[in-house]
């Protein structure tokens, strides 16, 4: 334990103190000599030395200041208080002056030392706070609403990607916000200034390099001076959390797609087996029949029996296929008066997350007062959902222009209800336009090519049509028309 006391650090510190002491004593001696030569009286000399020591106490610690103070008193009593050249002091007034100087010096040194300790503690706590903010990606801010002043911590500046020299303003915050989040955020900030409650919101930032950050902001009004309206809060960079969530969602989507593909695979295998069985029997019977006919003499009775079995086998295969078709057509179709716009809004609700994630700008052009159509609501939803998902996926690769999705409803020139889904994706070439509605035709990796084929058969089952065409200026448009003659 003793060795530790004399560790390099503490011995260096002790040496520093001794040096401070020595320097102070030298300064004291020089000043005492000057005062003595100038033949100053006790009061003046005391004042001069006191000024020196108060100055030194700014940099020295308490112990050094105390030693120097005692030395100064000694020097004053030796050179300036009668009897001279003795530490003895005759005059009570002189003694009182010396004691006063000592008390003042010690008091000043004590206050100084305490100040320094508080300052150090404050600095450390600030350092811890800044470090904790950096580690947790959480910045803090204060907002004096009345004066319109914002105060940001270092981490808040870092999250917003701004230099500390910039003075933060609400305009800067809005400028940094993602273009799609700007208007709702501005509206919210307007409310924040009026309502007294706890705020908790999430929005995105668009950084100058085009990257997106997700942030969560929590804030609450604090009790300040009367007439002041001040909010204090935290800004959390939750980009990493959002990204992890996104990856998990993606993994789930991949899994469900894999399941679907597997289901189709199993279905195909069982259909193949069901159809294979009677065909295998027919082939075997046919082989037997050939044998009976080729025998010498030909056995016509056996051959006829074999042919009879072949007919039976053929009919069995047809029955199997009809049974499968019956299963697939079993989707119950219900007809109710439905509002197409309502169906579209539901589909938007289902796909909103997907659209936001892929930075797709949705434009709704839904005609007001459309008549109701008699249709199967679930099937309508399937068709529109399929068209919207296709449009969103088609725009995944678009980077050089905005990803615009237009959902349009209205009555077309032929007096039919018309739903259009327009995208700004790469569009479809002539060859693809002809084939996209065929079963098992797909341009997507992982697609099974049934979506549009099923969508078109649903449209036709409702007496409507589903067609694709090039969109202007770019992309594709899918037009789904429904007759109104059965309108409710």
């Amino acid at each position: 334990m003793k060795e530790r006391w004399f560790s390099v650090l503490s011995s260096r510190r002790i040496a520093g103190r001794v040096m401070q002491c020595a320097a102070g004593l030298v300064g004291l001696a020089v000043l005492t000599l000057i005062c003595y030569r100038a033949e100053l009286n006790l009061a003046t000399a005391g004042l001069v030395l006191m000024i020196l020591l108060i100055g030194l106490s700014l940099v020295d610690n308490f112990l050094v200041s105390a030693v120097l103070s005692v030395a100064a008193i000694a020097a004053l009593s030796f050179f300036f208080a009668r009897p001279l050249f003795s530490f003895w002091v005759d005059n009570t007034k002189d003694l009182l002056a010396l004691v006063t100087v000592l008390v003042v010096l010690l008091l000043v040194a004590g206050i100084r030392a305490n100040r320094r300790r508080v300052a150090e503690a404050l600095k450390r706590s600030e350092m811890y706070l800044a470090e904790a903010q950096r580690v947790s990606h959480t910045g803090s801010f204060g907002w004096n609403v009345r004066r319109g002043q914002l105060y940001w911590s270092e981490e808040t500046f870092r999250i917003f990607g701004l230099d500390r020299t910039v003075s933060p303003t609400l305009d800067l915050v809005l400028e940094r916000a993602h273009p799609d989040d700007r208007a709702p955020l501005a509206a919210l900030l307007e409310r924040v200034t009026r309502e007294d409650r706890r705020w908790d919101l999430e929005h995105r930032l668009m950084m100058p390099d085009g990257s997106i950050k997700h942030i969560r902001v929590v804030a609450q009004q604090i009790a300040g001076e009367v007439g002041e309206h001040e909010l204090v809060g935290a800004v959390m960079d939750i980009t990493a959390i959002r990204r992890a969530e996104e990856e998990r969602r993606q993994a789930q989507a991949d899994l469900s797609r894999a399941n679907r593909v597997m289901l189709v695979g199993e279905l195909t295998a069982s259909i193949a087996h069901e159809v294979n069985q009677p065909i295998a029997a027919a082939v075997t019977n046919a082989n037997a029949c050939i044998r009976w006919l080729g025998a010498q003499p030909p056995d016509l009775a056996e051959a006829l029996q074999a042919l009879g079995r072949i007919v039976r086998n053929g009919n069995q295969a047809v029955a199997v296929i009809n049974r499968i078709r019956g299963l697939l057509n079993k989707m119950p179709s219900q007809r109710d008066p439905i509002d197409v716009n309502e169906v579209i809004l539901e589909v938007i609700g289902l796909t909103q997350g997907d659209m936001q994630r892929h930075a797709i700008r949705l434009h709704q052009e839904l005609a007001a007062g459309l008549p109701l159509v008699i249709a199967d609501k679930v099937q309508m939803q399937q068709v529109i959902l399929n068209l919207v998902i296709n449009a969103v996926e088609a725009m995944h690769t678009v980077d050089d222009h905005p990803r615009d999705l237009v959902l349009h409803t209205g009555i077309d020139d032929g007096g039919q209800l018309c739903i259009e889904v327009r995208d700004s994706g790469p569009g479809l070439d002539e060859a693809a336009l002809d084939r996209i509605f065929e079963s098992f035709y797909t341009t997507k990796t992982g697609g099974i090519g049934m979506g549009l084929a099923i969508s078109r058969s649903i449209a036709e089952a409702h007496g409507g049509r589903l067609v694709a065409a090039p969109n202007t200026p770019r992309g594709a448009v899918f037009r789904f028309t429904l007759p109104l003659r059965a309108a409710a």
Binding site: A269, H273, Q277, P278, A280, V283, T284, N285, D299, E302
Partner: protein
């Protein structure tokens, strides 16, 4: 062409059973058909058959399981497996267990005939049944 050879058929599909029996008869064999593997095992057929043609996938006992039971009981009947669900893994397992042929349905008569010929040669080389 008189073979005087008995070939047993085990298949749960009645149509296939009937068709195969007729084909084997037209080829000059005596064919006996069973709907279940257990029925075949409980009959005298295991000791009288020169060859077994069995479906692979059946409700209570699969073709390969039947073959293994026969081998376990000491019957050296050359076996041909037929299946509507061909897959490479089962094929490898079957051939490793000593099955002569693994035929996907529907099969060509020539292929079946070639398998039967191999089976019968194997039987002669393999000696007598117990």
């Amino acid at each position: 062409v008189a073979h005087e050879q008995v070939i047993s058929i085990v298949d749960d599909d009645a149509e296939m059973r009937e068709a195969l029996t007729a084909l084997l008869r037209s080829l000059g064999f005596t064919a006996i058909a069973f709907a279940r593997a257990q029925d075949f095992l409980q009959s005298t057929a295991p000791s009288t058959s020169s060859c077994l043609i069995s479906d692979m996938k059946m409700p209570s006992m699969s073709g390969i399981e039947l073959h293994r039971q026969l081998v376990g009981a000491g019957y050296m009947i050359p076996t041909i497996l037929i299946t509507a669900y061909p897959d490479d893994q089962t094929r490898a397992d079957a051939l490793k267990s000593g099955v002569i042929c693994y035929l996907p349905k529907p099969f060509a008569e020539e292929r079946l005939m070639a398998c039967i010929r191999t089976a019968l040669t194997r039987r002669i080389q393999g000696g007598t049944s117990p």
